[in-house]
Symmetry: D2
Subunit: 147 residues, 4 copies
């Protein structure tokens, strides 16, 4: 994926289910991990106790192509798929070697935490830094992969 | 929801995150719990080791309206939203008292497990029993709710 | 178990692993669910945002006897196993019908949240109410069990 | 820790709870991840579908010293703490920089899967390879740590 940040991960045992594959809910955790890795690559931190701005999710979705199994290594490409004044949608593509695993999205709204919580405009510098980090295309090959 | 099976649940502590609300990935587990409760209400079991037929997910999605917090009780309405020859889509609506929490879908394909795994037509009796169970509208008020 | 609160639960699909049984880490979640159900039975709430007192864990352990499988119903007996001035140890016993599943403990310390966080003496009324709730021996048969 | 394999990890958002720290049950997943990383470092795989030998847990325990927070990096040292004819006990020590986070154990029994499942003697070569891997003291600095 051009202009996408790459997050590498290995399947852990607890993420499998009795069907012998990764449980379908785990892909939402994987997407979030990739999102937060992108934020760190941008020199940002999405969640801090003192931070007045938060990013609650308003939608998330995933389409499954091939299953993942215990110990398999896979790559998550994360990019900024869509922006509105107050929301950001990340797009994620999962591959294991040449195999398409699936693809999904997370849509988050920028809020002032309050109370009361209130949707606000996306901070321009945050968007710019996330975009730049996605363009730089990932960190080290071993990120997120246990030996 | 007319013709929907009701699954009742209470939020557990481990399902919350540092934002003080239920983590967005947990809604996919909640949807699956409701799906399986519907199967049991229909006198069926979705997953058995010996069963030659399986129901892998091909898509899932959720739209978030209001957050859930620790110990809150909520209801999940599950219905059959769409059918194709080989796939079933469940629709889920979450409410806490009069508050809309969100709504989502899980789409599963019917397969002969193999190997090789192969998509097959939905068993007509399974569909009929799931529909009938959804029409009967839920089990006891305390289902899935710890005291 | 005499003087124990009973928490009833059904195994959910996402709690199984590729070995076809409940993942060993889930028993710690089950113990906590039973602990919190005991608190509710005592008319108490262990975690609230505004509450100045907290109960962080200092130790937990489990011994496994027989595995649990998808959809099985089981009972968790929770009792107060030991008290010190500042700590409470809960004891848990798991059974499925007549089968011993395992047993474990959670030890929590009572703290004033701070900052700085500071261990304090157990509130006498909390201990008395938890003891009384354990003596009353559980709520309704269907608690925590989805249909 | 002398003779211990080091597994490096970063706290993910979904592992936190409403108290703002890593949920106490996650440490059992972290211990297992470190165990499996040790197996891989030994050129072994603990779980395969075709493998006739399995390693169910018979006990696990953890003592908590300091909490972990979102995005913190920590190290898990894993060593072979005790052996009997049929069981292996791993010992784990968690540190974040110079801070002791906690320590725990997992005890597993070697079984022929069956049915019926039957405890068998530890394979000598497996024990030798795990010991050798623990002596070699870990892989690359970035293992298991997302950027």
């Amino acid at each position: 994926v051009a202009g996408a940040f790459i997050y590498r991960r290995r399947v852990q045992f607890a993420e499998t289910d009795m069907a012998g594959i990764v449980h379908f809910s785990c892909y939402f955790r994987y997407m979030e991990e990739a999102e937060h890795a992108l934020w760190r690559a941008a020199g940002l931190h999405i969640a801090t106790v003192d931070e007045p701005v938060g990013w609650p999710r308003i939608a998330s979705a995933f389409e499954y192509r091939s299953p993942l199994h215990f110990e398999e290594e896979f790559e998550v490409s994360v990019s900024i798929a869509a922006l509105t004044r107050r929301t950001i949608q990340y797009g994620f593509t999962f591959v294991r070697d040449a195999t398409a695993i699936g693809a999904g999205t997370i849509t988050a709204v920028c809020v002032r935490k309050g109370p009361p919580m209130k949707a606000i405009e996306l901070p321009a510098d945050v968007v710019a830094r996330l975009r730049a980090a996605a363009e730089r295309q990932s960190g080290s090959p071993a990120d997120g992969v246990a030996p």
